[in-house]
Amino acid sequence: MSAGRIRPPGGALLLIVAVIALAGAAALAVIAQMPSRPAPGATLQPANAPLARAEAGRPAPATAIPTTANPEVIPEIGAAPLFVAFEGDPRAGQRAVMGAASGGPDAACFKCHGVAGEGDSVGAFPRLAGQPAYYLYRQLTSFADGRRPHDIMSPIAAQMTEQERRDAAAYYAAARAPFRPLPPGDPKLLQLGGRIAIAGSQARGVQACVGCHGPDGLGVPPDTPYLAGQDAAYMEAQLQRWSEGRRDTDPLGVMADIARRLSPQERQWVVRYFAALPPPAS
């Protein structure tokens, strides 16, 4: 199949049942208001050697631990909707991508992300082809509502209608694009990155990336993006944003925690490793 062609499965309507009961958007509504407050004086330490506060073996004062769960933020049993039917029309999405949506030609997605969603490594524009539709939709929503503020993307997403966001997400989810990896660089560094990616880091208290992003970083729909073949500079920038609290699209704060634990060098290693792997929709 040539680059840029779209293959809508079956009919015109791409219907994706986004199963999000637990870690997904249903949880967002409740958990997003529930930032885990770091204990006063807590510093960032690896999870398995995080013992600075246990001075001389004495337990830290009890006040350092969150004691009372705030009743407003406790999810009600069964209150969260368990299924969200995600509907988007890739054909309509194509119009937005090509610049015929509310934002007009200035907001055309293809200018940075490519017609086939191949991305552009020159500007660290991420690859979108074959990312889970629900994930893409959720990012557009987050660009618009400020959870993922971005100079270029936020105004664009804010101009799009709800349906245009769904359609554009469906379009890129269905797209296929060739994979043109950059030269992978020093194999030793790749190996260091691969180790964090598949086994985690004992010293940093960081679990393996593939535990959530799937074997070989191929992603786990509906909500976890693939990393394989993603643009390295883009991924590095995201880790930076997570670590600085400038991206808040993960209700449980897992990515922010991981990004903060890794050193800038380790982040570079791990993104280069994933960037060198073939992505799913190529």
Binding site: A47, P50, A54, I77, D257
Partner: protein, 589 residues
């Protein structure tokens, strides 16, 4: 000839939950401590990372983290007139091995027992009359009360980062929690987990029947959490690989994540893996332990002298060690005399499944070990036993612990056991079934006990532990009643069909039930009816402490580990604050 090592202040046998707790606390109290673990070291990174950890065949089917029964097992029979045979394949329960013990591959369901559970005999006798308890039951009071244990429950729950919702805060009833629980001094350290779809359906049905559903207390993290020691846990991803697996996300409380790093960085503590303890050594008087005898991975024998010995080898193996070491009088069911091996009890489980039509998706794969919605209306003495003919009860829960491909394929009754019709039924039903579990209590009775086997020996030449057990009539009645209640809820859950599995009348050691073996070295106030005092100190050998669920005089309708952890902290506090100042019996007889 065993090589004699340098003496230490304390030696710990087994490094699971209780071993890790003792290692940290005793080392911090300034004692030189050695922890001996028969298995190997393993921890979150690199050992428990997926996808390797999600190998269901290796860990769930072939028991990758459980005791190797080709080297060490127990023998089993239902009744004393039978000859016991060795359990050559794991089944009914799955004792752990390796550092962390079963605390690595447990589910994390973290319940307190009810106040009346600790005073079982006096409670029922007072409320329903002396003759209410069946004469074959040897149930008794614990010698410790709920108010005494409450601060230790609270502490262990903070160590584990349990998520839940209090139903009783200092005597005040709290909406949405368990209204029957004993008073808590504080709210849970974390909020409950997000409930699964099956739990939501159960919750609605139970509430419509006037029952009191609440989220299961869980040691799978509902958010990022730092425990009182500074150990950091991370949020659960609901991947459904808890029970029988280690957690790759630092999201399930385990000795390795919550306690052990504190001990490991303390120079007072030394962990020795591949160290299988075969015996506790006694001096000539038989009243003092001098240390333990162990064999390392190369088969070399060592004597580790110590001033204090703590058995932390899991309830069953603690009792075995007492018996092979000749500590305490072995229990004799014929006379009812003796204490070691007495009052073995278990758990009386059953279940009901609800089958839904294809438009109701349950998504069983999005689960966690302790993801459930529960009612406690039929546990303990939370309901009137007056018109009934049994004591005890249990919780009823809709759990969503994982829908893994090999072991999870619920099919409606009448489906063939194999072949294309079975396959079709699996495909049709996989995503449309909710399971309701009954977690019933287990009363000790005169005929159920642990002893040494006269016929079979283990790889170390010791007689195997022998288990003699069948369900007491009391528990069969209790279980039928509990399952009736679960079926009533199941029918209100709006499925097309319900299917009830009662616990068969005779105990079988083959199908998995629970790893909640209790009793055999029970605590109490009288050395004639208990092996250890209320501080888990041996009556016979005061420098020996025995941890774990073997201390339970009978088992309540809950999972044991919150109580095991609370008792460990209660015991170690008495050891440090009282025993060290004045070594000797903490309770006078």
């Amino acid at each position: 000839m065993a090589k004699k090592l340098k003496p230490v202040d304390a030696v710990l046998v087994g490094m699971g939950w209780t071993g890790a707790i003792f290692a940290k606390e005793l080392a911090e109290a300034g004692l030189r401590v050695v922890g001996l673990e028969r298995g190997r070291m393993h921890e979150t990174i690199p050992d428990w990372q997926s996808p390797a950890m999600h190998d269901e065949l290796k860990y769930a089917v072939r028991w990758g983290m459980m005791v190797d029964v080709s080297k060490e097992t127990l023998t089993f029979r239902n009744h004393s007139d039978q000859t016991a045979l060795p359990m050559r394949q794991l089944g009914s329960f799955l004792p752990g091995t390796d550092v962390g013990g079963a605390g690595v591959h447990w589910n994390g369901q973290t319940y307190r027992f009810l106040p009346s559970d600790f005073t079982l005999r006096s409670h029922y006798s007072k409320k329903y009359g002396r003759d209410f308890i069946a004469p074959d039951l040897t149930v008794q009071d614990w010698g410790v009360t709920y108010p005494e244990l409450e601060p230790f429950y609270d502490h262990f729950e903070r160590v584990c980062g349990v998520g839940g919702r209090a139903g009783n805060l200092k005597g005040q009833r709290m909406p949405g929690g368990n209204p029957f629980e004993g008073p808590r001094s504080r709210e849970y350290p974390n909020p409950p987990m997000i409930q699964a779809h099956a739990g939501a359906l159960f919750e609605k049905a139970a509430a419509s029947l006037g029952l009191h559903p609440f989220p299961e207390p869980s040691s799978n993290m509902s958010r990022a959490y730092t425990n009182p020691f500074g150990a950091q846990l991370k949020p659960c991803m609901y991947c459904g690989f808890c029970e029988r697996f280690g957690c790759e996300h630092f999201a399930k409380a385990s000795p390795q994540v919550c306690v052990l790093p504190l001990a490991m960085r303390n120079p007072n503590f030394e962990l020795r893996t591949g160290a299988h303890v075969n015996r506790v050594l006694l001096d000539a008087s038989g009243r003092r332990a001098t240390g333990v005898l162990y064999v390392d991975g190369q088969g070399r024998e060592f004597e580790q002298p110590a001033d204090i010995v703590v058995l932390c080898a899991y309830g069953l193996w603690n009792v075995h060690l007492l018996l092979v070491s000749g500590i305490g009088t072995p229990y004799d069911p014929a006379t009812g005399q003796g204490v070691v091996g007495r009052n073995y009890a278990y758990q009386t489980t059953s279940s009901v499944k609800v089958f839904y039509p294809p438009d109701v998706n349950i998504n069983p794969f999005m689960g966690a070990g302790a993801l459930g919605t529960v009612i406690d209306d039929f546990n303990g003495d939370n309901f009137d036993h007056g018109p009934l003919d049994f004591i005890g009860g249990g919780y009823i829960a809709a759990h969503t612990t994982g829908g893994r491909p090999i072991m999870y394929h619920p099919v409606p009754p009448g489906t063939p056991r194999w072949g294309s019709a079975w396959k079709r039924a699996v495909a049709d039903n996989y995503n449309h079934v909710a399971s309701i579990d009954c977690h019933g209590s287990s009363m000790s009775r005169r005929q159920n006990y642990l002893s040494l086997d006269p016929t079979y020996k283990d790889a170390h030449g010791r007689p195997l532990l022998r288990l003699t057990f069948d369900f007491p009539e009391n528990d069969r009645r209790m279980s039928r009643h509990l399952t009736d209640q679960a079926e009533r809820i199941a029918k209100a859950m709006g499925g097309r069909l319900t299917d009830r599995s009662d616990r068969s009348d005779t105990y079988s050691i083959v199908p998995y039930q629970t790893t909640h073996n209790t009793g055999g070295a029970i605590m109490g106030t009288d050395p004639r009816t208990s092996a250890v005092n209320r501080y888990l100190q041996s009556w016979d050998v005061p420098n020996l402490f025995v941890q774990g669920a073997c201390a339970f005089p009978q088992n309540a309708g809950y999972n044991p580990t919150d109580t095991v952890g609370a008792l460990a902290y209660w015991s170690v506090k008495a050891l440090i604050e009282r025993y060290l100042k004045r070594p000797g019996p903490l309770v006078q007889t």
